[in-house]
């Protein structure tokens, strides 16, 4: 059902935030200490110009970051061993604007771009790449995908 409350969406949101803040006061778990990790990532000796890199620890939250055009990455992660996963798919080119399809562009007939790394690297369970983050903010870990 459409509600007439649309006229004052800001007010509705203010209430939502108030409730939220009241509900959260005094709670919240201390997240584990994280350390700066920097490095370069390459596949078959060539730096990757794009993609998403994820560190998955044995326990705790996975940390995700972008791969920069120069092949570098930077993230913060808890100390310890992390399984690594890498997804690198170039942007799609072409397509026709069509507001009726999801994403607003009709890509029928346009070939999908080829991923830059084999599929096994897309999952931490199959990548076979593991790194160890030390409890220091000067971690330099170059990730080399063979």
């Amino acid at each position: 059902m459409m509600t007439p409350a649309r006229a004052v969406p800001g007010l509705r949101h203010a209430w939502a935030w108030l409730c939220l803040l009241a509900g959260l006061a005094g709670c919240g778990e201390q997240s584990p200490k994280t350390y700066l990790v920097e490095g370069k990532i390459s596949f078959k000796g060539k730096l990757l110009p794009l993609g998403i890199l994820t560190f998955v620890p044995k326990d705790g939250k996975a940390e995700v970051c972008k791969i920069n055009p120069d092949g570098s990455y930077k993230l913060r992660a808890p100390a310890g061993k992390h399984a690594v996963e890498v997804i690198a798919v170039p942007a799609r080119e072409g397509g026709r604007r069509d507001p009726n399809v999801e994403g607003g562009i009709d890509y029928r007939g346009v070939p999908a771009p080829k991923p830059l790394v084999p599929e096994k690297y897309n999952r931490y369970t199959t990548s076979g790449i593991e790194v160890e983050v030390l409890p220091s903010d000067s971690n330099t870990i170059d990730i080399i995908l063979p």
Binding site: M1, M2, T3, A5, R6, P9, R12, A16, W17, L20, L24, G28, E29, S31, P32, L50, G51, I52, T54, V56, P57, K58, D59, G60, K61, A62, E63, V64, C65, K66, I87, A88, V89, P90, A91, R92, D98, P99, V101, E102, G103, G104, I105, D106, Y107, R108, A112, P113, P115, E119, Y124, T125
Partner: protein
């Protein structure tokens, strides 16, 4: 279930859902399609996915250990869209359900599905909420739990599957 927020990206003027079914974690090859652009593949080892007919008896991991529906913040769509395609059926964007692919409350700027290249795909858009530190999920036994975004990926994936044989080590 209408939350009163409008989808600013598409379907202007329609209510957008901030909840969606959990399609699973795509473990053991339970993945449909190998699409790497825009919509992405969808997982079929959870409670809800296109064509799913999961019965309580199928939830071998236990209904108290299985996620059914979770909060979504980023790129909301109306439930009524179900799923749609921009590639003539090859690429299925599931709007009513989502994959457990990324951590809860991942950084939307980083994982924007609108980014170029589209490294975060539509079906993979993370479960998320405006609550600090996690998101609410309905479990298969109809109980609601706040799942912290510090949950480890293997445990989160285990909760997302209905019959992968894992023991639930997570409690809120």
């Amino acid at each position: 279930m209408q939350t009163g927020e409008f989808d600013t990206n598409q379907n202007n003027g329609t209510y957008a859902s901030h909840y969606r079914g959990v399609m699973g974690a795509g473990l053991n090859g339970k993945v449909v399609g190998n699409n790497t652009t825009h919509c992405g593949s969808y997982y079929t080892d959870g409670m809800f996915y296109p064509g799913s007919k999961v019965r309580p008896a199928d939830i071998l991991d236990g209904t108290a250990n299985t996620l059914a529906i979770g909060e979504k913040l980023y790129e909301p769509r109306t439930w009524l869209r179900g799923a749609d395609t921009s590639d003539g059926g090859v690429n299925l964007c599931v709007t009513a359900c989502g994959n457990v692919r990324w951590p809860i409350n991942s950084d939307p700027c980083l994982l924007s599905y609108d980014a170029s290249p589209e490294t975060c795909l539509f079906n993979d858009i993370f479960f998320a909420s405006r609550h600090t530190g996690g998101a609410n999920f309905v479990y298969a036994d109809a109980s609601v739990h706040f799942v912290q975004d510090s949950i480890s990926m293997p445990v989160y994936q285990a909760l997302a599957t209905i019959a992968n044989g894992e023991v639930n080590t997570y409690s809120d």
